[in-house]
């Protein structure tokens, strides 16, 4: 094939671009590719494309072999990637290469063997011809006239009213996306109450063992939950109670406590705080015992547990709620009262 940018070299074929609605760009010089002038190069390109398609088929076969032969728990060491699942890497590699080669072959075909002469097509006006616009307007006017939409005021207004009202049932029915629990508590009531009550025993959050003050060394931190959490969780089949009641116990030298949210809410330097961040609700357990700072891993709000859990940095606007604690007759740590304020993120009705 020769340079056809001048429009002369394309041969007398039926399908000359001009007949198909476009023509080569006259003023762009075109440099023929090797495959255009050298039949050997063209043959070579043809072979390259065909071998890519051929290899693609081969990799599909390899995929099937890997799928059947490899044990799904086998691992294999691959440099750079380390020990990886043999199955995943084998399937991904064979399937990926098989698919990739189809694309590579097609593009090589287009680049080496299909015409690379840029052609021109004219754009057409997007705007409709005047007659069409007139016809549309006339049809609209006729329809408006014949229906009497403009004349029958009462029909028009009642129709608009009906159209406005009819989606209401669709919205109303969304109300029961949340079925209120027995007693019909409002969302803010639910957000305000937790399992903690006067006398609720404090237990570890994973093993549910009661905790004695002497179990917590100075500087220590224990993630804890109310003792009745397992039964409640069993009864309610969800993690809602856990999400609200989670607390942490920290112990510090009583002399280091600057302030608390209530008088004597600690027990011998052991303080209990909600674990749920007052910003957007992430559980917090990053505690620096030297400074008594508690850091939220999500948005880095920092609270000072030796000073009423006040915010000292970050986006949280509220202190961490403190739970007053003491010990019961058997010497285990218990709550002395429910939380005095709602735990977790703020909400409109919180006040």
């Amino acid at each position: 094939m020769t340079d056809i940018s001048t429009g002369s070299g394309h041969g007398p074929s039926e399908n000359t671009p001009a007949k198909l609605g476009y023509s080569p760009v006259a003023d762009i010089p075109h440099r023929p590719r090797v495959a255009d002038t050298d039949p050997k190069a063209a043959r070579r390109a043809e072979r390259q494309v065909a071998s890519m398609f051929m290899l693609s088929m081969l990799f599909v076969v390899l995929f099937i072999v890997a799928y059947i032969a490899i044990d799904k728990s086998a691992t294999v060491y691959v440099p750079v990637f380390g020990a990886v699942g043999a199955m995943n890497i084998a399937l991904g590699f064979t399937m990926g290469v098989a698919i990739f080669l189809i694309g590579a072959g097609a593009i090589q075909w287009a680049k080496k063997l299909m015409p690379d002469v840029e052609v021109v097509q004219q754009r057409h006006d997007l705007v409709s011809p005047t007659e069409a616009t007139k016809e549309a307007a006339a049809n609209y006017e006729r329809g408006k006239e014949e229906s009497g939409f403009a004349r029958f005021k009462i029909i028009r207004r009642t129709l608009i009213g009906a159209m406005v009202l009819f989606p209401i049932p669709l919205v109303v029915m969304l109300r029961d996306l949340w079925i209120s629990p027995p007693g019909n508590p409002s969302p803010s009531e639910l957000l305000t109450t937790t399992l903690w009550e006067d006398g609720t025993r404090v237990v570890t959050d994973a093993t549910y063992l009661p905790i004695r003050p002497e179990d917590i060394p100075v500087g220590g931190l224990v993630s804890a939950a109310p003792a009745d959490l397992p039964e409640v969780q069993e009864a309610e089949h969800d993690l809602n109670a856990r999400g609200k009641a989670a607390i942490i116990l920290v112990r510090m030298d009583p002399a280091e406590i600057v302030s608390q949210q209530g008088d004597g809410w600690d027990y011998q330097g052991i303080l209990a705080y909600s674990k749920i961040c007052t910003h957007v609700g992430c559980p917090i357990a990053l505690y620096e015992q030297r400074t008594h700072h508690l850091l939220c891993p999500c948005h880095q709000s920092t609270f000072d547990l030796s000073d009423s859990g006040n915010v000292i940095f970050g986006p949280a606007a509220r202190r961490m709620p403190q739970l007053p604690i003491g010990v019961d007759a058997e010497g285990f740590i218990v709550a002395k009262a429910p939380f005095a304020e709602p735990v977790g993120p703020s909400f409109w009705e919180r006040g």
Binding site: G92, G103, V119, V120, Q122, L177, G243, K275, H299, P315
Partner: protein, 590 residues
């Protein structure tokens, strides 16, 4: 419609496959009249440029997400019912977890190829969002959103938003510790909305957090609602590209009224079709080689645990960053709470960003008063204000994104989170305007350079000593391609300031709005470097010709062109020494 058509009428010398294809074409055509469309469109010309592939990447990665997603639905169980895991991943055996998480573990460890498809789904989704973002940059910086393509820009903004929704809803489905934490944050954000937030959160989650409804609700949204909308919008997006024809970059022979490129059949059929397989293949290879979202390491979700260094997928990072750097403002009014610390970064700011993005084409058209159709793309340097605004937005985004990783940055570079946060709180206001000014100045400097090239040609590096001893550097006319590109610039004059009271003493009622518009128009265009006039270019050409005439005697040397190219512009003729060594050798010979 006649029963004979070109496909049926020319069966001579057709291979069996072609004959069969023609038969099918005829069969279909007789029922839907498809050949009219094919005849018009198989030869449709598309312009070629690497940046036009960005949108293609988005489309193809979306198809990969759809395909892999359909496969995942066959195995995933969107349920929050607690089950005891008993699959083949030993560390979690016997642990209580939601069915969603257990089935995700099964897909990862017990379904052969399941992990591959899961990772393909995740990787392709990340590529999808990234490709949309970069495609959007291309469209923005080249002004492809201008008339008549404003609708398609809005569709694109809608698609970008839906892509974020698709990504976040999918990320949240496996119910692992990380995704659950993301949902907890999302709930906190909903809860911060004044008046309706608390109820909204209860309705969305079916009660308190985490509840037992949300995963199955999200599943419907993730596999039906969002992808359905994306598919619908993508279809319209592509139909509009088709009817409006693709924009093209300026170049020789390219005008606002034509399309220069290659025909759909066969070149783009092969290139675009092939490119789909390339994207598909690369997604598969990455999924096979690189682990993403190893949910088995995070453990099942429980609302009282979180791991340090929690990071969202990349495209949510900027929103998370905004939440992180926001100061802790909260106000209490009449017994109600307004959490500005959440509302501003997570609701108001993204709302403004996406609204501004959608409205930008209309704002710019109003300011510039430009009502023409544009099919020839702008070079970013020729619209310094728009380019500046774009870079400003990217800077803003980038800073928020850094904020999203402030804990990782703090531990990696041994900085304190407080100092990073304060740095960002200040630079978020300071750096974007600086980026704007710097970008605008760079664009104007590039415009000056273009003007210089038109007026003085390019510097050849060939220094010529004239007979009277003066040295000049020979300039030559830039090549025709560059010439076509540079001269494509269209100069727009800023709108004139409106008159307050006209000659007849009538007050201009629209004075204030017109004056604002004129000021903005000035802001857009006043600094523009005007393109030289034809007369100026001709004069410049004359000057260049003059240089050439001075140099002409030297070109009389045989093969001067070749020599000039071979010796970096040093005039050289056969027989002359090429190196100092050769020259010295020549001397000793004498």
């Amino acid at each position: 419609m006649s029963t004979t058509n070109p496909a049926a009428a020319s069966p001579a010398a057709a291979s069996p496959i072609e004959a069969a294809g023609g038969g099918v074409a005829t069969y279909v055509d007789q029922r839907v009249g498809s050949n009219k469309f094919l005849g018009r469109n198989l030869g449709k010309v598309f312009p070629d440029h690497w940046s036009f592939m960005l949108g293609e990447i988005a489309l193809y990665s979306f198809l990969v997400v759809l395909l892999s997603g359909v496969y995942l639905t066959l195995f995933f169980k969107p349920s929050m019912v607690e089950v005891i895991y008993n699959g083949s991943y030993v560390p979690l055996k016997g642990i209580e977890m939601s069915e969603a998480y257990a089935s995700t573990l099964d897909i990862s460890f017990d379904v052969r190829g399941g992990l591959l498809i899961r990772q393909m789904h995740h990787w392709a989704a990340l590529i999808f969002v990234a490709a949309i973002a970069v495609h959007m940059f291309r469209v923005f910086f080249t002004g492809a959103f201008r008339k008549p393509r404003e609708f398609n820009w809005i569709l694109g903004v809608g698609l970008a938003t839906l892509a974020l929704a698709a990504g976040f809803s999918g990320y949240s489905l496996p119910d692992d510790l990380l995704s659950g934490t993301g949902l907890q944050i999302a709930r906190g954000i909903v809860q911060s909305i004044p008046i309706v937030g608390t109820w909204g959160a209860f309705l969305l989650f079916g009660g308190e957090f985490p509840g037992t409804d949300f995963i199955s609700r999200l599943y419907g949204i993730h596999i039906l609602l969002v992808p359905g909308l994306i598919l619908a919008l993508v279809t319209v997006h592509l139909m509009l590209v088709w009817t409006q024809k693709h924009t093209q970059f300026p170049g020789p022979g390219r005008t606002n009224n034509n399309v220069v490129g290659y025909p759909l059949m066969p070149v783009y059929m092969a290139k675009a079709g092939g490119f789909f397989f390339i994207v598909f293949g690369i997604c598969t290879l990455i999924a096979g080689l690189v682990t993403i979202n190893p949910i088995w390491l995070f453990g099942p979700y429980t609302p009282d645990q979180v791991s340090a260094g929690s990071q969202p997928d990349w495209y949510i990072g900027w929103l998370d960053g905004a939440l992180r750097i926001m100061p802790n403002l909260e106000s209490y009014l009449f017994g109600y709470t307004i959490s500005w610390n959440i509302l501003i970064p997570a609701v108001i700011m993204p709302g403004i960003v996406f609204t501004a993005l959608a409205l930008y084409p209309f704002l710019e058209a109003w300011v510039t008063g430009d009502k023409r159709e544009h099919h020839l793309l702008d070079r970013p340097r020729n619209t310094p204000t728009r380019t500046g605004i774009g870079v400003m937005a990217i800077t803003f985004y980038g800073l928020l994104w850094i904020g999203g990783g402030n804990d990782i940055i703090a531990t990696s570079f041994n900085l304190t989170i407080n100092s990073i946060t304060w740095f960002l709180r200040i630079t978020i206001f300071v750096l974007p305007p600086i980026a704007f000014v710097v970008t605008k100045r760079i664009c104007l400097a590039l415009q000056r350079r273009d003007r210089d090239k038109l007026l003085h040609g390019y510097e050849t590096g060939r220094v010529l000593r004239l007979p009277h001893g003066e040295f000049i550097e020979v300039h030559e006319t830039i090549n025709y391609k560059e010439m076509a590109v540079i001269t494509s610039k269209s100069d727009i004059a800023p709108l004139p300031a409106p008159v307050k009271v006209d000659a007849d003493g009538v007050a201009n009622r629209k004075y204030r709005i017109q004056s604002l518009r004129a000021k903005l128009s000035n802001f857009f265009y006043a600094d523009n470097i005007t393109k030289p006039t034809t007369a100026e270019i001709e004069a410049a050409q004359h000057h260049i010709d003059h240089d050439a005439a001075l140099e002409a005697p030297l070109h009389a040397y045989e093969d001067a062109d070749e020599i000039r190219n071979a010796h970096g512009g040093v005039l050289h003729h056969p027989g002359m020494a090429n190196t100092n060594a050769e020259q010295l050798a020549g001397r000793t010979d004498h």
